[in-house]
């Protein structure tokens, strides 16, 4: 872990020493070979896709956990849980491939060119639903049954019981799951690389192609030299920092849990 950070910093150092950190946020364009280094469009790309995916996947993921815990008959719940686990195990490159051959043409019919922010958001949504659903399922399972029996004894409807008792009690687990999912969405490379179109620009609509930080590394690393190469390591550092912040947040939240 320390070795990894040290190496990222070592490799990023040349460009930071020569041009400093400012150009990464102030330059007009991303042409590292010519010495302009802005990574703002890529940061927006990463944030847009991750936030969009988390917004869509949260209700679906938590909803399916609630379905498993409170609505489905036991056999179906068991089957459904297995299905989500398999879904979680599908390689990201398979998601990306499916997105490229199925989803992108569908979106292209709506509005060309098809490879777009929207495709990226949808694929990421699919990929993080299992993460959210499995963690939410586990945290609902940990809600003490006495709470639920108490709620039932008060004559609350099933929905009132879930909304008023189960969700608040499972709150910290749910939040931790969401943060894990956000981390996965930010770090995902292959799937977004395959469906997003990879044009370096800040997307202004859902149908425009864009590029994320991770995709940028994957695309350019193969031929990057000198400062260009170090610039890519800078974006690697930035990703690492984002994940560090998320993990710290998860830790704070899970310490403040109300059951235990």
């Amino acid at each position: 872990m320390i070795l990894i950070t040290v190496f990222l910093i070592l490799e990023a150092l040349p460009v930071l020493q020569q041009v400093g950190i400012v150009p990464f946020f102030r330059d007009r364009t991303w042409h590292p070979a010519q010495g302009s280094y802005t990574i703002i469009p890529m940061i927006w790309g990463t944030l847009f896709t991750a936030i969009g995916a988390v917004l869509i996947a949260t209700p679906l993921g938590i909803g399916s956990a609630i379905f498993c815990q409170y609505y489905a008959p036991p056999i179906i719940a068991q089957l459904y849980r297995r299905l989500i686990e398999i879904l979680a195990g599908i390689p990201s490159v398979v998601y990306g491939f499916w997105g490229l051959v199925v989803l992108v043409p569908l979106i292209r019919r709506l509005q060309p060119p098809g490879t777009s922010l929207l495709a990226g958001i949808l694929i990421l949504t699919l990929m993080i639903i299992p993460t959210i659903a499995l963690t939410a399922d586990a945290s609902f399972a940990k809600v003490p049954p006495a709470y639920l029996r108490g709620a039932a004894a008060l004559g609350l409807s099933k929905w009132a019981m879930i909304w008023g008792v189960a969700i608040p009690a499972a709150q910290s687990g749910l939040l931790t799951g969401l943060i894990l999912a956000t981390g996965r969405a930010i770090g995902e490379t292959m799937a977004v690389l395959m469906v997003c179109g990879n044009v370096v620009q800040t997307p202004t609509s859902l149908f425009e192609p864009m590029r994320t930080l991770t995709a940028n590394i994957a695309l350019e690393m193969a031929y990057a030299m000198g400062n260009h190469r170090s610039a890519l390591f800078v974006s690697g550092l930035l990703l690492m920092a984002m994940i560090g912040v998320l993990v710290a947040m998860a830790e704070v939240i899970s310490q403040g849990s109300i059951y235990e």
Binding site: I4, P91, V93, L100, A133, E188, T189, M190, M240
Partner: protein, 280 residues
């Protein structure tokens, strides 16, 4: 039947709909890949080399490279992983500063994007250690990636061993090494197997970390120092860079998913046999 009766039904309907939606999408993905991939899949596809940049021919060298990368990864990750887990579970207190530090860095490590592992592998294994684009550096990079999962579940396995085992061993005057090797390790095998399966699953699905470490070459690898293309990279390359490679990409995706299922069910099978063996 008044209005509030229907209102009380609404949440149930919504949740069934969500579950149905996710199931539908899942079936869609799976049947899509099965449908397009099964036509291409044959014994020849598995045993011949790719031709014409992968549009024709099979995936034999790619399968071999994939398995070699996995083998390197696991050969390195398992000893280190089990060692660290033993250290964490048996030689350090759960709340000690050292244990907490190691555990926290493992948590962060587990969340690090795979592409960052790729960058690291490229800088460290390929450049500094001079391994170049090779199966070895790919496998080593993957080993770093699966370590957190492996350590976590092995550690859980060790912690799940009943306290009586340790007390009994101590009462018999066994040394700590003997206790760990002959008593705790066998009892912790289920945790190890789970970690092994999760680790292999993550490693075989990995693409981003391998692009700059094990490389693109789709020839048959001659040694561990040769560059070799992993199955997932093959899918990526066929669908992105090779026009008309979709059919073989479908077939490769199918192979990849079948391979994953196979590994998972074998591990579950081994674990269940082992459980029965232990109970008799």
């Amino acid at each position: 039947m008044n209005k509030s009766y229907y209102a009380s039904l609404l949440p149930g309907i919504v949740f069934w709909a969500i579950a149905l939606l996710i199931t539908t999408i899942f079936c869609w993905i799976f049947t899509d890949i099965l449908w397009h991939g099964i036509g291409q899949l044959s014994w020849e596809f598995l045993t011949t080399a790719p031709q014409n940049a992968g549009r024709e021919g099979g995936i034999f060298p790619i399968l071999v490279s994939t398995l070699l990368i996995l083998a390197v990864c696991m050969a390195v990750a398992i000893p280190i992983g089990v060692g660290t887990a033993v250290l964490l579970a048996e030689f350090s207190d759960r709340e000690s500063r050292f244990g907490r530090l190691v555990r926290r860095s493992l948590d962060i490590l587990a969340g690090v994007p795979s592409i960052v592992f790729g960058l690291f592998g490229n800088a460290f294994f390929a450049k500094v250690l001079g391994l170049g684009f090779s199966i070895l550096s790919g496998g080593l990079t993957l080993a770093c990636m699966v370590l957190p999962i492996l350590i976590r579940s092995t550690e859980e396995g060790f912690r799940a061993v009943p306290r009586e085992y340790r007390l009994g061993a101590a009462a018999l005057g066994l040394s700590k090494t003997t206790t760990i090797w002959n008593i705790l390790l066998p009892a912790a095998i289920p945790g190890l197997v789970v970690g092994f399966v999760l680790g292999i699953g993550r490693a075989i699905a990995e693409t981003a970390a391998l692009i700059f470490t094990s490389g693109y070459v789709d020839r048959m690898p001659e040694s561990l120092f040769d560059s070799g293309r992993a199955l997932s990279i093959h899918i990526f390359d066929l669908s992105m860079n090779v026009a008309g490679g979709d059919a073989n990409a479908y077939a490769s995706a199918l192979v990849l998913m079948l391979l994953l299922l196979l590994i998972n069910s074998t591990a579950i099978w081994i674990a269940s046999i082992w459980f029965q063996h232990q109970q008799t």
